[in-house]
């Protein structure tokens, strides 16, 4: 049941490309002068880009992509209820048995680490 651990570098490159594209689209959008809105949109773009980079092979990325299709609040979950429960943190963790929840968490952590690294690098590159 345990799929192989994610290839960090490939995820990083895929995420970087998608994220940059999303940010470009974001900067062209109107009504983004508001800082908070822009921050929310950036975070959403980051989340979506990561899920798109990972693809549909993991349950948590599927859950994130599903949320987009449903057009619900993309970030609403993690901001409004910072739960102590692991199920509330990992996307799609509600309807999962404990065993797969743990494996999804492991994969999710790896991808988050890759995402943070990429975003940090981009930040440092752009404004040293």
């Amino acid at each position: 049941m345990n799929i192989q651990p994610p290839n960090s570098s490939s995820i990083k490159s895929r995420f970087a490309v998608k994220f940059v594209q999303a940010m470009k689209r974001l900067s062209k959008r109107r009504g983004m002068g508001d800082r908070y809105k822009r921050y929310r949109a950036t975070r959403a773009a980051a989340r979506v880009s990561l899920a798109a980079a990972v693809g549909p092979e993991r349950a948590w990325s599927r859950a994130v992509l599903r949320r987009i299709k449903k057009r619900r609040g993309l970030i609403g979950r993690t901001t409004t209820n910072p739960r102590r429960n692991l199920r509330g943190l990992v996307p799609g963790g509600k309807g999962m048995d404990y065993c797969s929840l743990l494996s999804e968490t492991a994969h999710y952590i790896t991808c988050l680490q890759a995402q943070v690294q990429v975003m940090q690098d981009m930040l440092h590159l752009s404004s040293p």
């Binding site: 940010m23 062209k28 950036t42 975070r43 743990l102 988050l112 752009s126």
Partner: protein, 377 residues
Amino acid sequence: MREPSREPESPGLNSINSVMNQHLFLHEMLQPFNFEPTSSHEDFLEQMLSSVPPTPSSFPWADDHPPPGNSEDHSAAMRMRHQQISGAAAKALMLQQQLLLSRGFSAPMHDHNDVVDSSSPNSANPANDASIKGLFNVFTGLPGQNSNQSQQFHHLQGGGLQQSQSLSGAAAATSGDGAAGRSKQKVRARRGQATDPHSIAERLRRERIAERMKSLQELVPNANKTDKASMLDEIIDYVKFLQLQVKVLSMSRLGGAAAVAPLAPDKSPEGRQPAASNNSNKEGMAATEQQVAKLLEEDMGSAMQYLQGKGLCLMPISLATAISTATSHSRNPPHNGEAGGGGPSSPSTSVMTVQSSATTIGRKMSLQEAIAAPKLE
């Protein structure tokens, strides 16, 4: 939840056949054991069951032969029963009867018949009751497809075996931890019964969870696994931390968001907001240049911040010229190395010379360029 899962009628007897064969084997095995009443009865049954070759949970109910070499009413009772009971319960009954037979009780069998026919109250003698209890306790741990069957077993035994029912009720409390949806009702997990598929499955599951936890523990920085709960807390904290980092990074990106896509400096020299337009025009540049010059005299840091807000950076002229000559789309500017183009695909840079200092203000390159820049060195 009480719906009986019936096997089709014709296969019924074959299972009984196979089971009976096993019981005959058991019957011989039982002789050397000394029979002790009630207390060690359960252990004895465990021994007996552990010697039973594992049967598939779904019996091959395909055959029609009546079981060989048994007393008449026994087979009759079995035929009757198999119509009423599904697999595991039937096996339970059969084993029990074998046991009773070997113990030399013939009367309880009839009592048993009556009970199965759901006609009689508790007429079994205490030993029988204990044996039924013991047997029943064991068989609740059997893999009966669903423990609906054992529940059905309850039902058929009727009020005659109230004690066993209460026992099963108590057994629910002692079931192994985390029977995750495998059976609708709690099944009592007998410790130390290695051949019990339920406990095997439980153990497998626990092992899987343990290995997942171990891999998680390697990911999370603080890896002192004192116990599972604290490890979980660590994992949760780490996930929250990573998500928080993403939040912070996207927040800090607000000021430098323009840096991601190559944007021209803002038309208004005052504004620190990231520019939305993609055109680069000389007037904007000139105004920015003046603004920067003014700021440079006051405070270097604010000048840098201003530039960053506009998506520009300060670099030595030599580097700027090197970059601009290296990129393919750069045009030669009249007096300062200014190149046009605002699209993300064009690798052009525009540079501005600040007369007051020997540095130039270079427009932010697209990310591809930035990655390509070190190659120039």
